[in-house]
């Protein structure tokens, strides 16, 4: 196969951005989600309201924010609020349509670990921890996950559950969400460097689209369980010239996240 003319990260960002079509209020995470959301606002979702956990509603960042607390998310925003208001009035009240999460480990039901590798009390690797992830997973209407596939990340059993996904399956998750008054309906999509996964009626990840250049062998080699593959498996449309221009010239000109 010839050189595709775009990187795996660029494909991942573009695919995530397209998933935001039709969404209104989005809780933005640091890193790849930051670029994906800002790309969506310039393409498929111009009316998207960007919410940053640092306490900003309706951000209009003039440059790609270096962190989720960058001053550029404040200048020109609709509102700056305290973090208590952000988490209580915007997220817990149910005003967030999409929350973006990443993690070090994910299981087949979309449960996420961003806390530790190894036992909690004697970790092999200490990771950042929840931040807002655990309450985003519970209270954002839809959760979008962006992660690169590897058999160390897509595991049979996660070492620590930081953010609940579909728990042990859709039925159980539904029941618990209703009983607990969660505003969230759980994970709706996992965008990786190889493809796009949605969740089937059992609550398990199912590969619905393969990125151009990626193979099913690669997909299976980078996941620790036997993955479900859609019988109608599609091929993700390659990034358009305009999508690539926006990513390369406006959103990540230094290629921090995309090379």
């Amino acid at each position: 196969m010839s050189e595709p003319g775009f990187s795996k990260s660029e494909m991942m960002i573009v695919a995530a951005a397209r998933e935001l079509a039709g969404q209104h209020v989005c809780f933005v995470g640091v890193g790849l989600p930051n670029i994906a959301v800002n790309l969506a606002k310039r393409t498929v979702a111009p009316d998207l309201e960007l919410v940053y956990e640092a306490g900003v509603f309706g951000a209009r960042p003039a440059r790609l924010p270096l962190s989720i607390g960058d001053p550029t998310i404040v200048t020109g925003a609709t509102a700056v609020v305290s973090m208590f208001e952000l988490f209580a009035f915007y997220l817990q009240r149910g005003l967030i349509d999409v929350g973006f999460l990443g993690a070090a480990q994910i299981d087949r039901f979309g449960n996420l670990n961003s806390t530790v590798i190894g036992p909690y009390d004697a970790p092999k690797t200490r990771l950042p921890g929840s931040g807002g992830a655990c309450e985003i997973a519970i209270n954002a209407r839809n959760v979008f996950v962006i992660m690169r596939q590897s058999s160390r990340s897509f595991v049979e059993t996660i070492d620590f559950r930081t953010s609940p996904g579909n728990l042990g399956g859709a039925e159980q998750a539904e029941r618990i969400r209703r009983a607990g008054g969660w505003r969230g309906r759980g994970p709706s999509v996992v965008v990786t460097d190889l493809g796009i996964w949605h969740f089937d009626e059992t609550g398990e990840m199912r590969l619905d689209s393969l990125h151009p250049g990626a193979t099913l062998d690669e997909v299976r080699a980078t996941i620790a369980w036997v993955p479900k593959i859609s019988p109608d498996l599609g091929i993700t449309p390659a990034p358009s010239a305009e999508e690539l221009r926006l990513v390369r010239e406006e959103l990540d000109p230094e290629g921090v996240y995309t090379t």
Binding site: G55, S67, V74, V80, S82, F84, P128, F160, R183
Partner: protein, 308 residues
């Protein structure tokens, strides 16, 4: 202006005591690096450090040996990677025979709720979070609680009442009436929750400046013990409208902090070897400082009305 204005050295010497629970808050914005460095310089010991995002300042303070325990919700170098000095005190492979850092971990909403309960003199705060996660197992202070009005079960977190909270801000008057614009984080909650409050500002202003714009006042002098004037004191974090985040330093800290010898050498050069923020800014150099100044984007004035 006399009032509560103090030098950083005196404020920290008088108000921060060994064994205290100390919160230096500021979410990405307005992180009190100059106060943290003074705490290292005065070799305070056995502190319990609370902060949502420990950030580089607590990585440096913990490398400086001031803390026995850390209370937090997100442990990373934002946009860069891990906090390596802290990880060395947590991961058994690096702790070895040394003393591990005690940790108490929440989510962001949990930490904000803890300060809010502390500020409002409540025994706990309820929140809809933590369901079906391992966090309550890792931290038994996160507890299930049944609503007194229905069968609903939510989680509760206990109040957090720091002995000392340090807040960095754009400006205050000599009485400690403090105004902030830009990200507010949980500074107000952390200040009201504390027994003692140190406010560090870029600029000391007349009371009339505060009174001309009361909606911008976040912390009243009523709860403030000391006002320290320390321009550029939040570097390498930023102050909205005054200077940008010095991302280069956040990147540079990663290789420094991966190596204990380099970390201690950095502390010698930039903390122990200097007598305060003015010397730090001089060492940083005019060019670096100038490169962090943003352009201008003033807010439109509002009219409060004259009602005499």
């Amino acid at each position: 202006m006399p009032g509560k204005v103090a030098s950083m050295r005196d404020a920290v010497a008088d108000l921060v005591r060994d064994g205290d629970t100390v919160a230096i808050e500021g979410f990405t914005h307005l992180i009190g690096f100059s106060a943290g460095h003074e705490i290292i310089r005065q070799r305070k010991r056995d502190l319990v450090l609370a902060r949502m995002t420990p950030d580089l300042i607590y990585d440096q303070m913990i490398a400086g040996g001031v803390a026995r325990k850390l209370i937090f919700s997100w442990l990373g170098n934002p946009g860069v990677g891990g906090l390596n000095a802290i990880r060395r005190r947590i991961e058994p492979a690096s702790v070895g025979e040394g003393t591990a850092l005690e940790i108490e971990e929440y989510s962001h909403f949990g930490m904000v709720s803890r300060y809010t309960a502390g500020a409002a003199n409540l025994p706990f705060m309820p929140l809809r979070s933590y369901f079906e996660t391992d966090l309550p197992k890792a931290n038994p202070l996160i507890r299930e609680i049944r609503s007194p009005y229905s069968d609903e079960v939510v989680y509760a977190v206990p109040p957090l009442n720091p002995d000392v909270t340090v807040i960095h801000a754009q400006r205050a008057d000599a009485n400690g009436d403090t105004q902030i614009w830009g990200l507010l984080g949980c500074q107000k909650e952390a200040a009201f929750a504390a027994d003692r409050v140190i406010v560090v500002v870029e600029e000391l202003v007349e009371e009339s400046v505060i009174r001309a714009d009361p909606n911008r006042t976040v912390i009243p002098g009523l709860i403030v013990d000391a006002v320290v004037v320390d321009p550029f004191g939040a570097h390498p974090s930023y102050v909205q409208g005054a200077y940008d985040r010095d991302n280069r330093f956040y990147l540079d800290w990663d290789p420094i902090s991966r190596d204990e010898v380099k970390t201690q050498a950095w502390l010698r050069d930039w903390v122990y070897g200097l007598d305060g923020r003015e010397a730090y800014v001089q060492k940083l150099g005019e060019e670096r400082v100038a490169s962090l100044r943003p352009g201008s984007a003033p807010s439109g004035p509002v009219d409060y009305g004259d009602y005499r």
